[in-house]
């Protein structure tokens, strides 16, 4: 359940982003977009793989889908924030429930840095990612 998309050429270390989404097409699309924008990207299709990768891959940012097949994205977030070693990693929640304000504020309360309601245009997604990493 883990794959890494290496950037074409690496001389300076690139910012690492972990994308977590159980929809493979969405996951690949998002990863591709980020790689093209110059990021180093890892992908996970479920919550436990995501948690394992967070520890080994040490991303600067996790794009985290809320709906996952094993444990929820919110649980991944909670465990990350509860671990002093991982708490500093930025997390942006992804969801397709645009109107779910409660879900958003709940996510932000647990420590997410931002919240992206999908679908979102490619350019807008990149802009939001850059804003969080800045």
């Amino acid at each position: 359940m883990l794959s890494k998309t290496q950037p074409a050429s690496t001389s300076i270390p690139r910012t690492r982003i972990l994308v977590v989404d159980d929809n493979v097409a969405a996951l690949k699309g998002c990863a591709r977009l980020l790689v093209q924008a110059g990021y180093d990207v890892a992908q996970a299709e479920d919550g436990l793989t995501a948690l394992a990768l967070v520890r080994t891959y040490r991303p600067a940012l996790v794009l985290l889908d809320l709906v996952l097949p094993d444990i929820s994205g919110r649980e991944v977030l909670r465990q990350m924030k509860a671990d002093p070693d991982l708490a500093a990693i930025s997390v942006v929640l992804l969801t397709s429930i645009a109107t779910s304000l409660e879900a958003m504020s709940a996510g932000l309360k647990v420590g997410a840095d931002d919240y992206i309601a999908r679908p979102i245009g490619n350019h807008e997604l990149l802009a939001r990612v850059r804003a969080v990493l800045r």
Binding site: N23, A25, A26, G29, C30, R32, L33, S96, I97, A98, T99, L101, R118, P119, I120, G121, N122
Partner: protein, 411 residues
């Protein structure tokens, strides 16, 4: 004058027992015809008939007597009479004869009828004289009793029917509420599940549009543009459906904060101008009132404005002007958007703000509509305590307006 007093032998307070008396025109008792209730002591000859009544009901008894005197008959008055230590309401009836008044009172209406019938069978001078009137009384009483019975039956039948209907209605209401909740839940779920694959389509269509532009020919680039455009419209529709289902399930949440309408309009119009100018439509803004900041959900009010402006552009021809005004009317702030477009037939105006209603008017550049925008707008404005309205003349354009109360108490 012969008296027939069967009741004096043994008093049995049968349910329909009564008393019958002949009186002078002034109500002075002349003669006791029947006394089944053993009330003779209260109304000896020479006493007034009103003495039969309980003192508390004397006034009513006098009114009864007055009615018999003036209208020559009175039927079924309920007047209380002291009867063996208790106050018992009796049914009173009376009629005028050629030489006096016949007064009958009984415990039940049926008793009244029976007494009248019996009196009419007694063959003596007085009853002969009053036969006609007692017959009338009896007839009237019988008819009234029948009518009462029929009425009672009818009323209880209707009552039963009503309570059956009410039960049925309550059941149907519960069912409807359940179905509506289910519909909204389904809408929300469907919309959510539709957004995921739609997002994928949009992401990859964008990849294609941006990366494959060189290898695709013009027709193929148009294919990609169509995919993008249609998925964007689909997204708009899904978002509208989500909005409507959230609003309809009572989840319209307004995030109120003081907002300057003028600033909001300026910002919003700057954004819409870019889109309008692609169609060579000019948007003009007139701020005619200097209003204080109002407690509004800025995002939602922008949604209303976006809807009005995109509609105005959608149905207007290039080279025309859309005029946006902010002014005060009484206790309201009014924002109006007037276009020089095609106008809307009068017959359609009323339904315009209902969900899924689409006008028969065609957009000028093939733009699509979800049919939900104005329904959402109406709910948002109503949520702020305001009203939406539209005026339109075919061939001359339309003006869509909404009001917002200047006093926050109205929210």
């Amino acid at each position: 004058m012969k008296t027939d007093l069967p009741g004096s032998e043994l008093f049995v307070a049968a349910a329909d027992h009564g008393i019958a008396l002949l009186c002078e025109f002034d109500g002075i008792v002349r003669h006791l015809v029947r006394d089944e209730l053993a009330l003779a002591g209260r109304v000896p000859p020479g006493a007034s008939i009103t003495a039969l009544a309980d003192p508390g009901s004397a006034e009513k008894a006098r009114q009864f007597l007055g009615t018999v005197q003036t209208q020559h008959a009175a039927f079924d008055w309920e007047i209380t009479v002291p009867l063996h230590g208790a106050l018992v309401p009796l049914h009173w009836a009376g009629g005028a004869t050629s030489d006096g008044l016949l007064i009958v009172a009984a415990r039940t209406r049926h008793g009244l009828t029976r007494l009248n019938e019996e009196l009419s069978r007694i063959n003596n001078e007085q009853t002969n004289a009053v036969r006609a009137i007692t017959k009338d009384l009896a007839l009237a009483a019988a008819r009234a009793a029948e009518r009462d019975d029929a009425l009672y039956d009818e009323v209880s039948r209707v009552n039963n029917e009503l309570s059956n209907l009410q039960r049925e209605l309550a059941k149907k209401n519960v069912e409807l509420e359940r179905l509506n909740a289910q519909k909204n839940q389904l809408l929300g779920m469907a919309a959510h599940d539709l957004r995921n694959p739609l997002g994928v389509i949009m992401t990859y269509a964008e990849f294609l549009a941006e990366e494959a532009a060189d290898v695709l020919n013009e027709e193929q680039r148009e294919f990609v543009a169509n995919i993008k455009e249609s998925s964007e419209f689909l997204l708009k529709m899904i978002n509208d459906l989500l909005d409507i289902s959230a609003i309809e399930s009572g989840k319209l949440r307004l995030d109120l904060a003081p907002v300057s309408l003028a600033a909001l309009l300026q910002r919003n119009i700057a954004l819409n101008r870019v889109l309008a100018e692609k169609k060579q439509i000019h948007i003009e803004l007139r701020l005619e009132a200097d209003l204080p900041a109002l407690p509004l959900d800025g995002g939602k009010i922008q949604q209303v404005l976006n809807n009005f402006l995109s509609n105005a552009c959608k149905f207007s021809h290039p080279g025309t002007t859309v005029e946006v005004r902010l002014y005060q009317a009484g206790a309201d702030a009014v924002i109006s958007v007037r276009d020089q477009g095609q106008g809307i037939p009068a017959a359609e105006l009323e339904r315009l703000f209902k969900p899924f209603h689409k006008t028969s008017v065609r957009s000028t550049a093939g733009e699509q509509s979800t049919g939900l925008g104005l329904a959402i707008v109406r709910k948002i404005v109503a949520g702020h305590g305001g009203r939406v309205s539209v005026e339109s003349e075919v061939g001359h354009g339309s003006t869509f307006s909404f009001t917002l109360p200047l006093s926050s108490h109205a929210i």
